[in-house]
């Protein structure tokens, strides 16, 4: 078969690229190694984790908050199998949705391992049966990433696990030790803390979610402690041992003293590495850099001019929506359009409760750049809507240019922060000033009022409700 474009990998980067290519009239194929489409995000990432986060949140509220709402129920019990089954069902429905979209857009789906024969020929090796070859004018590599591991600790997938296994455990851990206080560690840590596991997060840096503004890390630490997560920052893990039914994690604390943690599961969530295994990049004249990434230029073109790469296999944040933007970007670039991605305006989200979301510069980055900025913040506590729903944890922090008042960063921790951040992105895409936002009407009572108030605070320190 001859295609205009072949996409290798069907995650959010790959399938979006394929759909956009098809929309633009290109004959498109997509190759997926696994049985289901959707990649990490749909199968073992965003979607299943959010399914479990919501289930565990409901349970937690039933146990801890219903009474105050005036709902008396018998003490609820976790049916963990059902929880995991529901998650699997959500995943299945979502993945089926991608099959539907491929059909709708007349994209040929090939199941099997895609590998380069040369820069225009791709071999597809299915799990069973014979390998086939297709030829293609352009190729988009969208093979994503895999969880990283520590060199001294083998992931045995039984007691020492990654996020993939953590989403399909058969029992509720008694004590889960989470290595890494980043997004994945905090999300899955909170799932298990809510349903009764003792959770200890061991983080190498001096704060959790270290890539985000430090205020967010502080607030999330406070909120996480409330649900019983024990957070150990500035701890360098030195060994992880599976002792059968027990895992022993040793770490060095700030003073250099060795500390030991014992648990029945250890989740290694120290990040992800680009995944290019089996692609046979050399045959196409490609290679990876020292961090395993495929080198691309500003147009996401590799050094071989008909091959592009997007998402987690290239530089930049490993986020599903970043990959999606890049998928669209490449498809449009291929047909000669001139799209644009504003990388600084790709939001980052942590789906804990309260949620954390941010876009633009953090205060630390502005300090480092030497920018003159001002800060406006507003706590959820002071919001009517937050009081009504008992979601009073959180704060909105707006960073704006001292001179022009242009918004440089929006950081939100609180209920529905993940949805609210879109307003921050919109404002920043149009280079709105803090005063611009504070002069726009915000519905009352809503969580978004916190953004307006924080903007008022940034404008001339004149918030209304505090």
């Amino acid at each position: 078969m001859q295609y205009d474009v072949t996409v290798i990998g069907s995650g959010p980067g790959g399938y979006v690229a394929a759909i956009r290519c098809a929309q633009l009239g290109l004959k498109t194929a997509i190759i997926e190694k696994y049985d289901t489409l959707g990649g990490t995000c749909l199968n073992v990432g965003c979607i299943p984790s959010k399914a479990l986060l919501d289930s565990s949140e409901h349970y937690y509220n039933a146990v801890n908050h219903f009474k105050e709402h005036g709902i008396d129920i018998n003490k609820p019990k976790v049916n963990f199998k059902q929880m995991i089954d529901r998650k699997a069902n959500v995943v299945k429905q979502t993945c089926d949705g991608i099959d539907f979209l491929m059909n709708k857009n007349k994209i040929d789906v090939h199941h099997g391992m895609g590998s380069f024969v040369d820069k225009n020929t791709i071999k597809i090796t299915p799990a069973k049966g014979k390998a086939t070859e297709i030829t293609t004018d352009k190729v988009i590599i969208a093979t994503g990433s895999k969880p990283s591991s520590l060199p001294f600790a083998k992931i045995d997938k039984k007691r020492i696990i990654t996020s993939t296994e953590a989403l399909s455990l058969s029992e509720i851990p008694k004590h889960m030790i989470v290595i890494g206080g980043g997004v994945i560690g905090m999300e899955l840590g909170s799932v298990y803390a809510r349903i009764g596991s003792e959770v200890t997060v061991v983080e190498y840096m001096d704060r959790i979610i270290p890539t985000m503004d430090s205020t967010m890390g502080k607030e999330l630490t406070r909120a996480s402690k409330k649900i019983g997560i024990d957070i150990k920052v500035s701890h360098k893990v030195t060994s992880i041992e599976n002792k059968g039914k027990e895992v022993i994690v040793k770490a060095e604390d700030k003073k250099g003293e060795t500390v030991e943690f014992k648990g029945d599961y250890c989740l290694v969530a120290i990040g992800r590495r680009p995944y290019t295994d089996g692609l046979n990049l050399e045959a196409a004249g490609l290679s990876t850099d020292d961090r395993g990434r495929i080198d691309v230029d500003d147009h996401l073109r590799t050094k071989v001019d008909n091959i592009y790469a997007i998402g987690d296999v290239v530089r930049g944040a490993m986020l599903a929506h970043k990959a999606e933007e890049e998928g669209t970007f490449v498809a449009e670039t291929i047909v000669g359009q001139k799209p644009h991605i504003h990388y600084k305006l790709i939001p980052g989200v942590v789906y804990t409760w309260p949620e954390v979301a941010s876009v633009g510069y953090s205060e630390e980055e502005l300090k480092e750049k030497g920018s003159e900025y001002k800060v406006g913040s507003f706590p959820f506590k002071a919001l009517g809507r937050a009081r009504a729903s008992m979601d009073i944890d959180g704060v909105v922090k707006i960073l704006a240019d001292k001179k022009t008042d242009e918004i440089l960063g929006v950081h939100i921790i609180g209920a529905r922060a993940a949805d609210m951040i879109a307003a921050g992105v919109t404002a920043m895409e149009y280079r709105a000033s803090a005063e611009d936002v504070s002069r726009m009407s915000h519905a009352h009572p809503t969580y978004m009022e916190a953004v307006k108030e924080a903007c008022l605070a940034a404008t001339e320190n004149r918030p209304i409700h505090i």
Partner: protein
């Protein structure tokens, strides 16, 4: 000036209307297009907008019935707004329609009667004439003090000409004219008062702003002026239009999708001009016997004169050697990343060559010297000229005291000067006084050349292309990246011993860069 507002014709059968209500009071300041009254006819009610901004003088009161065509109020357009805010708004509105702007232009700032004559300034000791390369403003435009109104070219550099007063521009010398220092370039009819910075003139201003001005131009009201929305940015990019040349109609001058869609027509004048030029210069059709004649720029004229005179007036000779580039290339690939990370500039070959030349120059001072009449001038410092090809021709900015700079210092100077050269922003000072020149014909692929001395200097080093060559290393044939280097020198002051030894020294230092550090 007072403007009479009459009852407009609202339909063929309507002959009279009643003033239903005045929405503004007598003496109010009204803005253009603001609704000032509601009129009633026997068929419909309609609104009366102000035709101009100014102070309202009501002539016919509420409830009165008047014929179509009757003057019902006057607007005193010479009066200023009641507050800064309304004034600003008024200006913005005015800038929307160009014919409006003209009248407001003449009504706002007042002529003082003085005429400022601008003359060609003395730009450097050896420069006697300049050429007007382009006018950024048009005849009759309102220009502000210190605003750049023209680009002027001399044989050595390009300058920007700032306006010396606020007022109306009267152009004397046209584009392409060559003027002597002191000759009149233009006259400015000086006007007093604020030029209503974003007022009548705003439109033209943004029009003529060069691409580099971008969104943050001084004439914009807001930092966000000229910022394209995501969809608009994509459309502009596809059309190849610089957002800086598009007038945004969004809040504070932001460029909306609609602005971007309509952009072609309002694209800047200067841009369309350069486009025309590009079209003219586009690739000729095969088989065409068309011939084109273009005026030599003064820069090119001077270069040609100087090159010939150097050949005639010096005893120029060239000596060659070859350099095994492997050690430098190894060193570069090993530390390229770290260097870039630490210093923020790439580690190029220029720093190695400059360092090597400086060391060799200090050892062979004649190569760094010059002849002045019957004297020889020796320099105890190394000011290294680097030849940079700019869009306007070859220029040679100078790295001062290169012997004292480290690798980072040299690389950042190279980047800084090359960027300025490309943008035509080099000053005369930055190009004067070099003691030795390095030129790199290799970047265009040359393998051997005999560069011409950059007078009054006495020598020039030519770098070339790096090619793989079989060479004998310890009795073995090896493939090595080799660069031929050339030293052209003035034999009157530099003897063969010095020139050849100098070049050998450079070769030694490059083939074993550790010697650069040790000074051996």
């Amino acid at each position: 000036m007072s403007l009479e507002i009459k009852v407009p014709e609202v339909g063929e059968s309507i002959t009279e209307v009643t003033i239903a209500s005045w929405l503004k009071s007598d003496g109010d300041y009204v803005e253009q297009d603001e609704i000032i009254a509601e009129l009633e006819s026997d068929k419909a009610t309609f609104e009366l907008p102000a035709e101009k901004a100014g102070v309202l003088k009501i002539k016919v009161q509420d409830g009165e019935t008047v014929d179509v065509g009757t003057v019902i109020c006057e607007i005193d357009t010479s009066a200023s707004g009641s507050s800064d805010k309304s004034e600003k708004k008024e200006e913005k509105k005015e800038s929307k329609s160009s014919d409006e702007s003209k009248s407001s232009e003449s009504s706002e700032p007042e002529k003082t009667g003085e005429v400022k004559e601008m003359i060609v300034p003395a730009v450097g000791e050896s420069i006697t004439e300049v050429t007007i390369s382009s006018w950024l403003k048009e005849e009759g435009d309102f220009v502000e003090l210190d605003e750049i109104i023209a680009e002027v070219e001399s044989d050595k550099a390009t300058f920007e000409l700032p306006a010396e007063a606020n007022g109306i521009l009267k152009i004397v010398a046209q584009e392409g004219d060559t003027l002597e220092i002191g000759a009149t370039i233009c006259k400015i009819e000086v006007m007093s008062g604020a030029p209503s910075s974003s007022g009548g003139d705003a439109k033209k201003e943004t029009k003529s702003e060069s691409a580099s001005a971008g969104g943050d131009s001084s004439s914009s009201d807001s930092y966000a002026a000229g910022h394209a929305s995501p969809a608009a940015a994509k459309i502009l990019k596809e059309k190849g239009i610089d957002p800086g040349t598009v007038k945004g109609t969004g809040v504070d001058g932001r460029i909306t999708k609609e602005d971007a869609e309509n952009a072609q027509k309002s694209a800047s004048k200067t841009e369309s001009k350069s486009e025309e030029k590009e079209e003219q210069g586009s690739a000729p059709v095969a088989g065409s016997r068309n011939q084109r004649r273009e005026k030599m720029s003064s820069l090119r004229k001077t270069i040609s004169k100087r090159l010939v005179s150097v050949k005639n007036e010096t005893a120029m000779l060239t000596t060659f050697n070859e350099v095994d580039m492997k050690p430098i290339m190894d060193l570069r690939s090993k530390y390229k990343e770290q260097f870039k990370e630490k210093h923020g500039v790439g580690l190029g070959f220029m720093s190695f060559f400059t360092k090597a030349c400086c060391q060799a120059l200090l050892e062979w001072p004649a190569v760094n010297a010059a002849i002045d009449g019957n004297e020889m001038v020796y320099n105890d410092y190394c000011d290294i000229s680097i030849a940079v090809s700019s869009p306007k021709g070859l220029v040679v900015p100078v790295i001062r005291n290169a012997e004292n700079l480290d690798f980072k210092g040299i690389e950042s100077e190279v980047v800084r000067l090359a960027k300025k050269a490309r943008d035509g922003k080099l000053s005369i000072e930055e190009m004067q006084g070099g003691t030795f020149t390095i030129t790199n014909g290799g970047i265009f692929g040359s393998m051997l050349s005999t560069p011409i001395i950059n007078a009054p200097q006495s020598a020039i080093l030519g770098m070339h292309n790096i090619v793989e060559r079989p060479v004998a290393i310890n009795g073995q044939v090896e493939i090595r990246p080799v660069m031929y280097v050339a030293l052209s020198y003035d034999h009157r002051i530099i003897d063969g011993k010095e020139s050849v030894s100098f070049l050998v020294r450079v070769k030694e230092l490059l083939e074993d860069p550790a010697r650069l550090m040790l000074g051996v």
